[in-house]
Amino acid sequence: MATKLLIEAIHDTLAEEMRRDERVILMGEDVGVRGGVFRVSAGLIEEFGENRIIDTPLAESAIVGAAIGASLNGFLPIAEIQFFDFIHSAMNQIMNEAAKIRYRSNGDFHCPIVIRTPYGGGVHGALYHSQSLESAFTREPGLKVVAPIFPDDAAGLLRSAIHDEDPVLFLEHKKAYRLIRDEMPENGHVVPIGKARIVKSGTDATIISYGMMLHESLAAAKAIEERGGGSIEVIDLRTLRPLDTETILESVMKTGKVLIVHEANRVGGVGAEVAAIIAEEAFAWLDAPVMRIGGPEVPAMPFSKPLESAYLPNQQTIGAALERLSAF
């Protein structure tokens, strides 16, 4: 079976879908001639031309707004926001427009756009190239938010996102672009939006995670098992809105102990919603309080190496939390 890097899976899926459906266009800063600052769209303008791979002016609100407009007139636009950190300018268009178009028109209109953007830190990106803002969007009905970390999931979810009739925020962890390599199934496979994946089965505790922290969690879980510390189940959420509550609750009912890990701020993060759901719907099965690990209460990730490391959860801190959870 072929293996691909995360960035290759995304690039190849973009190309495949653009070949399959001429309504698919990509627009954003530097996506054309430059092939994207991370080279996600390298070579695409050569194949599809500047009418389908569009270098836009430097204006996030207009990029999303124009994508919305094009989606209302027959296209399936993929808008790229160069860094998640820059999406704030487009919040109005995303929240007040894209997310609400179907509902406010009573189903008369819908907005089938995809907004792709690189997120996450650990790449010395400092405050404005490392942000994880998922929970600002996962609270918005009308939006869908996905954050695959494995190449096969990225391909499958991108395909689903492009063909979804509603706006999908597609998050790509920039550190994982060239770090995560994995086997790819045959071309054309689809991963449905709204389904988590149990990446590792276990019986004594559950870790719920996504993004780079999923990998750190897997490593921590395996290390604990090797030490004889119990078998840990690890769930990759993959979709952050809508959450796969069924998979989450089934696992909690099995193990009774939960640790939620994400890079984004712990306070008000996606984990807070997951924890609340677990407490509401699986209370009787809990053998310990739900634990969460997330980014600290500082405005953003610093640049200097030791500061950045202090910010990020890692295999060791996750492992320590697992020990405490197991001993509870």
Binding site: A67, G69, N73, E97
Partner: protein, 340 residues
Amino acid sequence: MTSITSGSVGVKSREDNSGRLSTEQLRQMYELMALARGLDERMWLLNRAGQAAFVISVQGHEAAQAGAGFALQPGKDFLLPYYRDLALSLHFGLTARDVMLSLLGKKGDPTSGGRQMPAHYSSSKLKIITGSSPVATQLPHAVGIALAAKLRGEDTVAITSTGEGSTSQGDFHEALNFAAVKKLPVIFFIENNGWAISVPLAKQMGVAHVSERAKGYGMAGVTVDGTDPVAVHDTVREAADRARRGEGPTLIEAMVYRFTAHSSDDDDRSYRPLGEPQELRAHDPNVRFRARLIEQGVLSEDDAKKIEAQVKAQVDDATDFAEKAPYPDASELMLHVYGS
């Protein structure tokens, strides 16, 4: 001519290729302006009677909108309106009944099923694009619509209108820049009535006219007397032709009057110079156009009265219809969040 049952004011005849309005079109223009005014006045009445929660008015803008509407091709071109665009929306195909259903938040309201406040004109069938309340967000949408048309090689035009206050928003500038550099078939139609709620023009911008900004973005810009529907028609027609030739966008600033307060939630006596609304009403564009048409022999006094009577009948019918219409069921609340 209009018919009471369908209540639509559509374009029944096309102008000739010279772009000049035919007499029939002139009559229809007046009809449109009268219907918009008649509906608007009825809405205020219902609001003061406690039956309509919110009204935001077209009064003083009808002429400019009628002029612009008749320069375009409803059914082919796209309209991205703002909340004062009652006349433009009627011209693009919304009916009096539609408008009243929306006013009262009734089931069957085609613009939003009672979900949006009134005056959020919308219909995919009529190519009136759904909009929101934060201003100027529709301008980048117009850019996208025009982009799509251009990519497909169509000669469709997207017209988007908004007030002069909205031209301070970032989206206005981003949209103009985008449209200009990509040479997109967009008409940015600014209905400048001098007031952004209570903020007068002098506090809103450093330029004397919004149209001056066009130069800054590398596109055509023009200011026109918005009280003269024919002048507006000619200006918009020129912009539409330019757009269809692939020569890019135009910024049109139509100078209009705002006869009422900003909305039914505003009392403009607290900020407007004393007597200004009355002063403006003395120069009512609807009245002037009526007189002009009679003077030019396009309409007789009788014709005009007949039109006005028909408008009243239409307004009464629409009011009655909407008052009797059911409300949406509470069970509809959760519908149309996602398609799947």
